[in-house]
């Protein structure tokens, strides 16, 4: 009789345990996914300005780009839009929090060139480059790179190739 009761208890418990285990796993998966998206604030800038007039947006994956070996290359070039520059600066300010290295060129109290070395995502090094020029025309350049090569090496290569 006791044995029968025990058996019944186990049979009733099994789907409940399974259910909660699955829910926990689902929640964990969801959290990790949210975190991956949250650590990139500049993604919002790509989404917001990417397809607008006066903007050039590029996305290249696993393509050799004139000797550069990028796993992912995303860029945004915006002309005559100072609001966009301020918005991107705000995004970069948030991305700066988790960055491993930050380099800035400040003009009149405003950062005009920013280099962010982000923490690695799996085996990929990540870096963000931002530049704002107002010489002949106002132009913003934002680049996000994922590469298997060290961020410092990638940056050196970019600057050397110029």
């Amino acid at each position: 009789m006791q044995h029968l009761n025990k058996k019944l208890k186990i049979r009733n418990m099994r789907p409940i345990k399974l259910f909660f285990a699955l829910i926990l796993f689902t929640a964990f998966s969801g959290i990790s996914d949210i975190q991956a998206q949250e650590d990139m604030e500049i993604k919002k800038a790509f989404d917001l300005y990417g397809e607008k007039k006066g903007v050039v947006m590029v996305e290249l994956t696993d393509e050799m780009l004139d000797g550069y070996d990028f796993s992912l290359f995303k860029s945004l070039m915006i002309k005559d839009n100072r609001e966009a520059a301020d918005y991107i600066r705000k995004c970069l300010k948030k991305d700066e929090v988790g960055a491993k290295k930050v380099k800035q060129v400040v003009a009149n109290g405003v950062p005009t060139s920013i280099y962010l070395q982000l923490p690695r995502k799996k085996e990929l090094y990540r870096l963000i480059l931002f530049n704002e020029t107002s010489n002949l025309e106002h132009k913003i350049t934002l680049i996000y790179i994922e590469s298997k090569n060290d961020s410092e090496d990638v940056l050196k290569l970019i600057l050397k190739k110029k």
Binding site: N12, F19, T26, G30, V55, V58, T61, V105, L159
Partner: protein
């Protein structure tokens, strides 16, 4: 081959057997017959005590109420589907297409995309050029001249 005819016990016969059972006079076969009689459903209430002795339990009526088990099954299926979707998102590498948008117009030609990418990379100033630019500004005589000219109006 033996053919055994089943004899259905009457209440009187059962009463007699029960009496013999309590007196300890029943044989194994008689006890088996008595058990068979008592285990049948729908017997009068007076046999309840003997039924309990022989291990007969009345089937309990199921209480009408909310049963979560069928819902748990569906919830389990839903959870499995969710896990599947999330697993695909996590474990399958993200597939990015190569493209460019110029003034809202989508470009898929890989050569043109690469050209646009190179043009963007070219816009990033090197550290040296920033310094050079600043020095050039400092050495720019025209700027100094312009600034001095603003004070000329005080003469």
């Amino acid at each position: 081959m033996k053919i055994r005819m089943k004899h259905k016990m009457t209440f009187e016969e059962a009463d007699q057997l029960i009496e013999r059972y309590y007196d300890g006079l029943t044989s194994v076969e008689e006890e088996r017959q008595l058990k068979e009689f008592l285990l049948q459903p729908g017997l009068p209430a007076r046999y309840e005590a003997e039924q309990a002795i022989f291990g007969y339990f009345k089937p309990q009526q199921e209480k009408p109420g909310f049963n979560i088990r069928p819902f748990m099954r569906w919830a389990g299926v839903a959870a499995i589907l969710l896990v599947g979707v999330f697993s695909i998102q996590i474990f399958v590498p993200e597939v990015h297409a190569n493209y460019a948008y110029v003034d809202g117009r989508k470009i898929t030609d890989i050569n043109e995309i690469k050209l646009q990418a190179m043009a963007t990379l070219h816009d990033i100033p090197s550290g040296n050029s920033e310094v050079e630019e600043s020095i050039n500004n400092l050495n720019n005589k025209d700027i100094i001249k312009q600034q001095l000219e603003t004070f000329a109006t005080f003469e």
